[in-house]
Amino acid sequence: MGVKLLLEKASVPGIRSYDVYRREGGYAAVEKALKEMSIEAIVEEVKKSGLRGRGGAGFPAGMKWSFIAKPEGVPRHLVCNADESEPGTFKDRYLMEFLPHLLIEGLIISSFALGSNDTYIYIRGEYAWVATILEEAILEATKNGWLGKNILGTGFDCMIHVHRGAGAYICGEETALIESLEGKRGNPRIKPPFPAIQGLWMRPTVVNNVETLAAIVPIIKMGGEEYAKIGVGRSTGTKLISACGNINKPGVYEIDMTISVEDFIYSDEYCGGIANGKKLKACIPGGSSVPILPANLLLKTAKGETRYMNYESLSDGGFATGSMMGSGGFIVLDEDQCIVKNTLTLARFYRHESCGQCSPCREGTGWMEKILQKIESGKGEMSDIDLLWDIQRKIEGNTICPLGDAAAWPVAAAIRHFRDEFEWHINHKELAQTSNFGLQHYADPIHVPA
């Protein structure tokens, strides 16, 4: 059993309600932070903990907090990014649904550390019932004096507002989220200025992921140094992984980032192996926008070392032979899955979700989808593969926000690792409509079912 910090109490009956959560030791971290610690000490603990942003980019949270501008007389804001719309990622939903008070606790401490009196939770529109759960939890916390004016007699005022999105993936990008929160069209802003200088209503703002903010609670409880001892290298603490796809036990797992990818997929504690006795073909280890990896590169790095479930190991080898930790959406594909179709599905998603502000992403995502549709429906030509490669290359890095990169990477990785499958689709047009390319050389070499 690995260390559990966030989901430790998730299975306690009724943990969603304030009374049970409080009885189980909840809100002790708020008491400790607000009464015993100074603002600087909290930020210092978070820095010491080495906590990295859990939203996808993995930027150190303590460093992000220290960037916030503190001009006199200007209010600051903390915004919780709960617009979890990445295909394959559902860890934040689980956290908010079962442990809403854990998030609120983290939000109170973080608001105190950042000096935010009005803190916002921007929640994905589709999570309507979760928003209700959060609103109820906020009401309970307010009744019991954890939110509102003069919390615990410290003179610190804080209120948390829940804001529902209207169903746009792009609003998970922090500046688009801020625009949307302001009531505008959710178009990403051009940076600089960064939100830490001019964010929500042009005031200094920090936008953090749900899991990042929840992780503040164990950091305050156990201290930053203790937290940093969990995990390995710069991947400290625990990470929630939402595993899905062709595995026996899909679900949200808390891991301590020292286990190997192989253990994660095949051990009974976690995914429990590939479903229906099939073989592993490929995996998208960090949510739909990170590069897909074939089984042989997923379990072992290009150098032949074991790959572990942490930030460094998953990105070992760069994009040529590695991938990214991303937001922890672990999508497993078995031997029956078609990579071309999978890439088409992803490309369609990004075409649908592109905001249309800057031209490479607006036009390029639609173009890639159409070419992939063409290949998938048996009308592809060999030159289409090179064309796809050229299009993704011209989108990547040339857009305002990372959505362009996120749309380009899956296509690039699919062509990089599975080019023969694309070629097979083009050469065997009729066969490709009815059957599958199979495993070929990139199959999982370790677990051969009896």
Binding site: A168, I170, R185, I190, R351, H352, E353, S354, C355, G356, Q357, C358, S359, P360, R362, E363, G364, T365, G366, W367, K370, L387, R393, K394, I395, G397, N398, T399, I400
Partner: protein, 374 residues
């Protein structure tokens, strides 16, 4: 008055000093010529514009004197401010040329390329851009998106099919008019400029959205299909207008005024009035005053000699002097923006030979004599 802080910035090996806070694009425009990156969405008179079309991407090979690290990605020069000692590569960077060709391809992907029937042809920024940076054919083989034409009020027509979503008209409507009914609907490649819902744009200054449009998406209904711009003679004129500056460009053919626009500078942007304010013009000047007698003519408008509009008239007006240096010498080795140097192509065009000095029509024989005499 404190002294203005000047930053040294080098664009394509040419160094210039500009005040702090200037963007790379503005600095490059001060140098001028081929150094200035093209801009489809940026409009210096509109606050908040820019950053969207990605044609102005440049490579920053040296961040500043203090932090000489290059920037990891190409940056939008219209929204990036200069730092002291910054070194920028525009057309000297392979990466920039490649990315820009990509952007041009993306912009043309859903563009109908109906230039032969488009009123913007001849003064279209997308035409210029694709001529300079684009490929001569497309790799796109799917159906292009189309929209129905909409009338925005009685003077303006919106043809969304041509639109490149630069957002300039949205900013114009936002900043010049007090009641905003104009914006973007939908997202992604089906996003469209629209009024809510198919309302007319009814404002004294709304005609300016036609001037800011870089393509033919917003056109003047009083001018649609009346004439090609290169057949018209642009003349600077003014009138005593109670609502606007009244400083305009008339587009004449003979005595007839075909259309009225604001005065635009060499970057296609509206010129400032002598008072230093942007010279937006009102709808009355633009749409209703179509008689020469309404205007006081100041004289012919200077049009860049590369522009198709200058074809056929104004010889001797702008830029007809012949430089003595070679292009390479002036441009420090950068390739000139010319398809071919006509002086080298044919001896007929040798600059030391003046055909007007020949008696009667010239032919090969007289020409060879001329060479021998010279």
């Amino acid at each position: 008055m404190s002294e203005q802080i000047l930053f040294k910035v080098t664009v394509d090996n040419i160094t210039i000093e500009v005040p702090a806070g200037t963007t790379i694009l503005q600095a490059a425009r001060q140098i001028g010529g081929t150094v200035a990156p093209p801009a489809m969405c940026y409009y210096s008179k509109l606050k908040g514009s820019g950053g969207k079309c990605r044609t102005c991407l440049v490579e920053v090979s040296k961040g500043s004197e203090k932090d000489p690290r290059p920037m990891p990605k190409l940056v939008a020069s219209c929204r990036t401010t200069v730092m002291d000692g910054m070194e920028v590569k525009n057309i000297t960077s392979e990466k920039v040329i490649d990315a820009r060709a990509g952007v041009v391809e993306f912009l043309l992907l859903n563009h109908p390329l109906d230039c032969p029937i488009c009123d913007q042809a001849g003064e279209c920024h997308l035409q210029d851009l694709s001529f300079e940076h684009g490929a001569s054919n497309t790799r796109y083989e799917f159906q292009r998106r189309t929209f129905k034409k909409h009338d925005l009020g009685k003077h303006i027509q919106l043809h969304m099919t041509r639109c490149i979503l630069c957002y300039r008209c949205v900013f114009t409507a936002d900043e010049l008019t007090n009641k905003r009914v104009h914006g973007i609907l939908d997202r992604g490649d089906h996003a469209e400029i629209a009024t809510h819902i198919e309302k007319s744009l009814d404002n004294e200054f709304i005609g300016n959205v036609i001037d800011v449009c870089p393509v033919g998406a917003l056109t003047d209904k009083t001018f649609r299909f009346k004439n090609r711009v290169w057949f018209l003679k642009p003349m600077d004129a003014y009138r005593d207008c109670p609502t606007c500056s009244g400083r305009v460009t008339l587009w004449n053919r003979g005595d007839e005024v075909f259309r009225v626009t604001a005065r635009k500078d060499e970057w296609g942007e509206i010129e400032d009035t002598p008072q230093g304010k942007p010279g937006w013009i009102c709808n009355t000047c633009r749409f209703d005053k179509k008689q020469s007698s309404d205007w006081v003519i100041e004289g012919p408008r200077a049009i860049s000699r590369q522009s198709v509009i200058s074809q056929g008239h104004y010889a001797g007006n702008v830029g007809t002097h012949i430089p003595n240096e070679t292009f390479a010498a002036i441009n420090e080795g950068r390739a000139p923006h010319l398809l071919m140097d006509i002086h080298n192509e044919s001896e007929v065009n040798q600059i030391n030979i003046h055909l007007s000095e020949n008696e009667g029509p010239s032919n090969g024989t007289t020409f060879n004599q001329n060479i021998n005499n010279a």
